[in-house]
Amino acid sequence: MIFLRLFLVFSKIGIFNFGGGYAMLSLIHNEVVEKNHWLTSTEFTDIVAISQSTPGPIGINCATYTGYTAVLNDGYPQWVAVLGAVFATLCVLWLPFLLMVAVSKVMLRYAKSDRVTSVFSVLRPAIIGLIAAAAILLMSADNFGNPSTETFKFVTSIILFFFAFFGCRLFKIHPILIILLCGIAGLLIY
């Protein structure tokens, strides 16, 4: 049963992913955190952090981790969870792959046609909205602390947020270095 649901969810995530890893975050969040409760919002944020600092695309990393955790939390032994992880990852891949096989010959002409260009002129701005939504959904009390009851954690989080944001935008610090620095800061401050 859990395998069937993993199959449906991750096939959907694979085929509806346009525009790179960040674009699929709101979709993964919607399916994995809100609908199926396989992960908590904090766990999801942690995986994005781990994905940033490990090799491979974020989509693959999320699928592998979620597959493992979901099957394990469903009460199966660890070796089944490993299968679940591999299974969820393959689910993300198979539909786009079939599509790629089907159109790999036609697509070359098609990819530069006016029709595709106009679809992407609407799809690209929409994807920016999806990414912004993922960021906003993660600006939660779970990740930042409650302003009234955990004021210290909240203020520290806001400072780290702006450090990371401007470090990345203005000073072009590498994301992995930012994660590393904020991890050290967390260890020292809390």
Binding site: S26, A49, T64, M100, R115, S118, V122, I128, G186
Partner: protein
């Protein structure tokens, strides 16, 4: 081919576009599986297809070079290192996530991750030619998801249909003008 793509998968942190330079060096310069022009074509296709960008690149390169079987081999090659890495981390994380030091580190990291997710919105805005006339698209999409709990699936479908219809109207208009002349 599997090993080459394993290498590409293993040495690109952060995924996606970060792996383009190393992929080009391996596939075009070193192994001559594709010419430079072919590589750019593959890039155009991979960007306009659904799915993970890196995997799309790998599968299309494989298929173009020698058919479906190599396509599968190349995609699995790119995915393999990250599956192994995350599996190890997942096992480790289940045991250590309640460790007080690990929790402290992640308390510091979480806000930074949210900032790193928010950041590409601004660089992508330039690439997508966002102007005052279409800035409403990302804002409406974002509000629909965050305030009205609309699934991103519907937004993507709606954007594809809207873009398609808009393109058809535009080309019809162009044709009309042409006929008049």
């Amino acid at each position: 081919m599997f090993l080459t793509f394993c290498k590409i998968g293993a040495f690109t942190l952060g995924g996606g576009y970060a792996m383009l330079p190393i992929m080009e060096r391996e596939v075009v310069d070193r192994h001559h599986w594709l010419t430079h022009e072919e590589f750019l074509d593959v890039l155009a296709v991979a960007q306009s297809m659904p799915g993970l960008f890196a995997i799309n690149m790998a599968s299309h390169i494989g298929i173009r070079h020698s058919g479906v079987k190599s396509g599968i081999i190349c995609s699995l090659g790119v995915a393999f290192p990250s599956i192994v890495a995350i599996l190890l981390i997942a096992m480790f994380f289940q045991v250590f996530k309640d460790n007080i030091y690990v929790e402290k580190i992640f308390l510091g990291i979480r806000p930074a991750v949210v900032a790193l997710i928010a950041s590409p919105c601004f660089s992508m805005a330039r690439a997508a030619h966002l102007t005052l006339s279409n800035i409403w698209i990302p804002i409406v999409c974002c509000l629909l998801i965050t305030c009205f709990d609309v699934s991103p699936v519907w937004i993507i479908l709606a954007a594809i249909i809207a873009g398609f219809l808009w393109g058809r109207r535009r080309s019809a208009k162009k044709k009309n003008n042409f006929d008049k002349d």
